[in-house]
Symmetry: C2
Subunit: 145 residues, 2 copies
Amino acid sequence: MDPFMQAAIDEARQGQEEGGIPIGSVIVHDGRIIGRGHNRRVQRQSATLHAEMDAFENAGRQPAAVYRDAVLYTTLSPCAMCTGAILLYGIPRVVIGENQTFMGEEALLKTRGVSVDVLQDSQCIEMMEAFIAAKPELWNEDIGV
Amino acid sequence: MDPFMQAAIDEARQGQEEGGIPIGSVIVHDGRIIGRGHNRRVQRQSATLHAEMDAFENAGRQPAAVYRDAVLYTTLSPCAMCTGAILLYGIPRVVIGENQTFMGEEALLKTRGVSVDVLQDSQCIEMMEAFIAAKPELWNEDIGV
């Protein structure tokens, strides 16, 4: 397992333990994690802190040059909001745990020149399948349904 | 002046008084403001709290039916991240103060069926022009340049 995807999964598991939505993300620059996070909808009653947004927030204010040389890892295909954040900051590469339980805006990322790798990792898939089966209303709320 | 755009401008002015980036936003449902906010990059060292994101955050967790019957007002054309949040939650209409100092992702919004009105309001334009002239590095950081 890629250690950065493992770190994103660890974030997702932490969110799960907190009673939240099990999605995690890390942002990597120069071989080092500069921001990590997980979905905080439940924990902070937040409508914006998806895992990727939380990772951006925790990375703090970075220079444009850092974002443009960074890789974002996320356990789940990124929604429109997180895709927009990736485009805003010009992140050139996104590594996705899985897109079987939810297909985000990968086509838009590719159209804008972002490199997208999807691992279809069984841990990520099983984690989301179990969560969606257990709390479908919470999941629908998170993706705007 | 539309009272909701005036409320967004009031938010922008508050941000300016706090030493922040003068962009404001409100989300309106059923003739009532349910969330309001302004850019918090400086105030909270935040990479994600653009005005629109702050308004979504302050609106809290709303049912999908509320978002789908809401109007988002923003003093400035929305960037990719804020556009993504509008698409995630299915906001059907966006009213924009101006797009002369910055053209956001209006084309993407329209492609996805969002109604977009641009007021080219002189207060909004002057506020952003003065800010960009005074703090170009901060502005570039906010839009990922």
